[in-house]
Symmetry: C2
Amino acid sequence: MAPKKIDGERRGRGRPPSFDRAQALCAAMRLFWDRGYEGTSFDDLTAAMGISPSSFYNAFGSKEQLYQEATDAYLKATGAWFLDILHGKADTRTIFQRLMTAAATEFTRADLPAGCMISVSGTQCAPGQARLRDLMARQRALSEAAMADRLRQGVADGDLPADTDVDGLAAFFSSLARGMAVQARDGASREKLLEIGRIGMQAWPAGR
Amino acid sequence: MAPKKIDGERRGRGRPPSFDRAQALCAAMRLFWDRGYEGTSFDDLTAAMGISPSSFYNAFGSKEQLYQEATDAYLKATGAWFLDILHGKADTRTIFQRLMTAAATEFTRADLPAGCMISVSGTQCAPGQARLRDLMARQRALSEAAMADRLRQGVADGDLPADTDVDGLAAFFSSLARGMAVQARDGASREKLLEIGRIGMQAWPAGR
DNA sequence: GGATTTATGGAGCGATGGCACCAAAAAAAA
DNA sequence: TTTTTTTTGGTGCCATCGCTCCATAAATCC
């Protein structure tokens, strides 16, 4: 196949890649998102990415390294709405209201796999995949910690009572979102998820 | 190895099994629960069950059939607390309060794998495992429907306002429990899960 | 005891999974 | 043009996976 000119970037020495790395990474991400790490085979990946095993190995190192890159890509692209909303300008309750609504909407997009790649990945796996399991658990912990931070700010801003259990509340919303992700993967409708989020907001502490 | 007398039951004709079927099934259930279907290999299973491939095949048919049996065993034994509480005698709010508390407790037992086998299994898998994915999704749907039924009864009993969205509320508690299961698999403490459940109960509809 | 029935141990097998290697191709640099 | 650097296609490889087969062992039935 004739190598295509990808773009006008300053190129290094050797033969140029015949594929768009970012695009291939995106294809891999969708596969991993939908099928999980163990459910996605090397052949599945090379087929979806449109590259040969050698190109795969050359460009991404290994299946495991690719998975890590795919996770990063997910967080920076598809999962960006989370931090965007969390760090947006609004009172704390509104922020979490938006998070629930966005989760319902994003988890049921027609153009992407259902649910959330972070929420449901690596919860069960072979002992040999411990590194990946820990990677996903760490990402879940980071999301939850970001929620807790925003809630702490809410307490400081007077949006929440001073005695609010911010860690507990973060764990609650975090759990609810993960449960919504499972629902989405089971085919739940956007309306159903919106309702779950709406009910979840009823647990918001009294005091404002 | 000399075959052991398992019990005094009326025995059929041929050679008696050298292992306790229920016990082997339990061992398999724990493995599946902890590692998932794809994360558990045939060798892992035969080793944990203490039987040879031929005995395995003879007694359980295939890995997939064993998984189905293991799921049944989970529901009938380990997951029995769910229906026990749901069908217990108490007002509706108390029932759901108990469910949340029991989920927190059961998901963090020292003598069993963390979390819930139903909640987190088969959310991501290879296309070839579609049957198992659907099986787990169906079980999740059944649990949720059982919750909805109990809530409907609550409305009939006057425990809940007549305009309560029982399906939505069931979906909410269902999602929360699944999120708690993910938390448990990530190593969350019993106290943390209890707190999540406590906060979740704050979403209980007003009116009693 | 012999026939029949069921379970066992152990070896092996076809398919798949995840790479690994290598000669050739296509670019920049000299 | 030659050299150097990087990517590619294709093939091969070794381990694992999930069985499968078969000769043998241990029970009941006649």
